[in-house]
Amino acid sequence: MPFIANTDQQRSEMLREIGLSAEDLFADVPADLKCAPPNLPPGLSEQEVGALLRALSERNHTHLTSFLGGGLYDHYIPAAVGELIGRSEFYTAYTPYQPELSQGTLQAIYEFQSCICRLTNMEVSNASLYDGGTALYEAVTMSLRVTGRNRVIVDDTVSPIYRTILRSYTSNLGIELIETHGTEGVAGRAEIIKHMNDSTAAVVVQTPNFFGCIEDFTDLATIAHDRKALLVVSCYPIALGLIKTPGEMGADIVTGEGQSLGLPLSFGGPYLGFMATRMDYVRKMPGRIAGRTLDRLGRDGFVLTLQAREQHIRREKATSNICTNEGLCALTSLVYMSLLGKKGLQRLARLCADKAWYAQQKLLAIPGVRLHFPRHWYFNEFVLELPTHVDRVIRELLNHNISAGFPLVRYYPKMTNALLVAVTEKRTKEEIDFFAHVLENAL
């Protein structure tokens, strides 16, 4: 049997030494509560399980040229990322409760928190959350704790996937969740202002928003702060290499999906939620936080800190039930950000934007194709309005091994002909040209 070291002989010796029989080990379980051995197939060898799962993996279509985004992006992952996070001292360790044996993990978390703060222009970050969607939910409940209020206004330019999660979580909690409607592809400011009142805890928006439009929310920060509410901004970290940051806009809580920072798509996870806020609110923030301190000999070291917020201390009064988060994913993003560096992130963001701009020009040259939301500024994703139903076009392009983008009609029923197209640095000019060529023929 693999993964079990003791031989039959050792087991018998151990039992004899402690004066027990094999039956004694489970004698405390009443006989009528024991089950028959499970109806599973016999165990496979490593070679067999490798072959079986490789065969299953080949039934997935990952050879497509992808223009599919929607919050998760096909970015290049440098070789050093996998090699470094694959060191078993990192990935086979537990949560750093014994700081003397976890300085590697703890310093990495501190450096991750620092990178997130520098990226978003905020003052404090936690050690990560599950993903961008649950991070936004945590931001919403945090805003309730900070303000002591219960109305939250979410604009529908925020990812519909995130908004569905917010609705599921808040349905039992007496939170008044109001969804406002974006206008012409950006946050619906008039409607947001209309719903602002003295019980409003937060206004929740996103940049670039789900349609790819870049927005400045400085005005919304002022509007929210005038009513003593918070501004919560969800963002795409690669875009922050170029675009105005939530911190510069006056946001109070910033969250986002960190998948683009070196994590594979992996059919939905594991991903990386991040959260940053102002120092004033740190004690209301969920999740682990690493801090720098001194040891008994005065040496620098790191510990988990401000734990009086957390479930293992506070139990039902904790700020969140979250225990472990996405430690290895946070480390992944830290290695990725360290490899890219200050100039690299800026240049990567520029590459994505330039290629998306080129794709936009190329696709808009096709007769009958136009921008669904003209007059806006985009980062690496934009909405095309096609002359025909989007589903037919997507099917046709799949026949040419192109994943053309996301059909917005799935979440916005009136947008039957709208295609959300994403372009990362991985797409080449030739691929974009071919996409345009096939799309033109498909229409």
Binding site: L20, Q107, L265, N321, T324, G341
Partner: protein, 482 residues
């Protein structure tokens, strides 16, 4: 060791990006751009490799040595699982593909993994159906409690309270509270298991359910579990099984047969996926037949022709608790592990986990107080109360173990045992390792008698020793802002 930012040299770069290859530059209105670039460190690839290799050497993982952290099931993480998760057919698969028209045909391999994992977990737990969506154990708990809430709402029940034993992990009450319930703690009896008379007094129509680990956090199987389930069902409460300790009974007892209605598992405990220094985990939730309709959206189903599809049409569902289908790459690793164990393997897991725990229990109980001295399951809880009389506490013993090359056990948990030291060896450890740990613990017990003062300097071999946590909390330094 220097922070990575302190190693930065302006102009240095760790990755060469390709040229754009397109003839145009994006136009973005200048006031929408950030003022200054983010001050990320500027390093060569070698600088980065050295930095993280140095950090890794300040860490202790299961591959480094024995990690008997109670309740965390730090078993070996098979290497093949990492290779499988990295296969491009899984790693490069976009989660939105199945949402495209006819897109499900593009992801049949991934849907097969989710479907088959559901089947395997049903078989191992005796539940009617599982969702793979919860992204960690605590997330599974929240999902489970939301299912409880949905069930009671559907029945028109006015339920306000969830009962939790006093020996429970803190995340149980936290999850219940976050889902909108009040929490009451049920005391343990003299045998270390739930006090059934106290439970009877606490049960009334306001009770939505009871959350339990079985065996409990003392490593003890509750012989009255079937009666507890019946009592809770009598007030139309639901029984919630916290799967933190499933490793102890894997293949031998079905939580479903005991009477549990909702189960969450920790794939990073029982099913060998790496703990990652604090995640990512995965916390699938299983339910009995009458709760199936409340499971999160979506559910993987099989067509008559053997192909798979995602069912989104679930009007009574609690909705979406994660954006997609869970931490797929973690589920995949756990699935590979189950395939390798097979039907004999799962029995071997529980047998060896329980044997190893009892071996340690028996070999140390003469020197360390064992508040509940009987055959345990996967873990045993000692108390350092005898040692504390000499001024040496559980935390001191933990630090002394570090100097002897071991990761300490969980200390000061469960809360109902003073000076608790909770030891969970897992099935993957050999007798030689257990003997070395036992020898170290015996050596420490002797040292408590002869030189209790010496513990103040432990650990001596680690890069740091006894960090000032009060200072960390009072003067928070939680980021280098540059």
């Amino acid at each position: 060791m220097k922070l990575i930012f302190e190693k930065s040299v302006p102009g240095r770069r760790g990755l060469r990006l390709p040229d754009t290859g397109v003839p145009t530059q994006a136009e973005i209105r200048p006031d929408l751009l950030r003022e200054k670039p983010a001050e990320l460190p500027e390093l060569s690839e070698l600088d980065v490799a050295r930095h993280f290799t140095a950090l890794s050497r300040k860490n202790f993982g299961v591959d480094t040595g024995f990690y008997p952290l109670g309740s965390c099931t730090m078993k070996y993480n098979p290497k093949i699982n990492e290779r499988i998760a990295a296969l491009s057919g899984f790693a490069e698969l976009h989660p939105l593909l199945p949402q495209l028209s006819t897109g499900e045909r593009l992801v049949q391999g991934a849907l097969a993994v989710l479907y088959e994992m559901d089947q395997a977990l049903r078989e191992l737990c005796g539940m009617a159906a599982f969702t793979m969506q919860p992204l960690a154990g605590s997330h599974g708990e929240l999902t489970g409690v939301m299912i409880m809430a949905a069930y009671h709402k559907d029945r028109g029940n006015e339920k306000t309270t969830i009962l939790i034993p006093d020996s429970a992990h803190g995340t149980n009450p936290a999850s219940a509270a976050i889902a909108g319930f009040g929490v009451k703690a049920v005391p343990s009896d003299a045998n270390g298991v739930m006090d059934i008379d106290a439970l009877k007094e606490m049960l009334d129509d306001s009770v939505a359910g009871l959350m339990l680990t079985c065996p409990n956090t003392l490593g003890l199987f509750n012989p009255h579990i079937a009666e507890i389930c019946k009592l809770v069902h009598d007030v139309d409460g639901l029984m919630y099984y916290d799967g933190a300790n499933l490793n102890a009974i894997l293949g031998r007892v079905h939580p479903g047969d005991l009477g549990f209605d909702i189960v969450h598992l920790n794939l990073h405990k029982t099913f060998s996926t790496p703990h990652g220094g604090g995640g990512p985990g995965s916390g699938p939730v299983g339910v009995c037949e009458r709760l199936r309709e409340f499971l999160p959206i979506s559910v993987v189903r099989q067509n008559r022709d053997g192909s798979y599809y995602l069912d989104y049409d679930r009007p009574k569902s609690i909705g979406y608790i994660a954006p997609f289908y869970g931490n797929f790459a973690i589920v995949l690793r756990a699935y590979a592990y189950i395939l390798m164990l097979g039907r004999e393997g799962v029995l071997r897991v529980s047998e060896n986990a329980v044997l190893n725990a009892n071996y340690i229990r028996e070999k140390l109980k003469d020197l360390y107080d064992l508040p509940f001295d009987r055959v345990c399951k996967h873990e045993c809880v000692f108390s350092a109360s005898k040692q504390a009389e000499h001024g040496v506490h559980a935390i001191d013993i933990a630090k002394a173990l570090i100097d002897r090359g071991f990761h300490p056990p969980t200390v000061y948990f469960p809360l109902i045992v003073p000076e608790a030291m909770m030891v969970e060896p897992t099935e993957t450890e050999s007798r030689e390792t257990l003997d070395a740990f036992i020898a170290a613990m015996r050596d420490i017990a002797e040292l408590v008698q002869s030189d209790p003062e010496s513990f103040r300097e432990c650990p001596k071999t680690a890069p740091v020793s006894r960090l000032d946590e009060t200072r960390a909390a009072r003067q928070p330094d939680v980021a280098s802002l540059g």
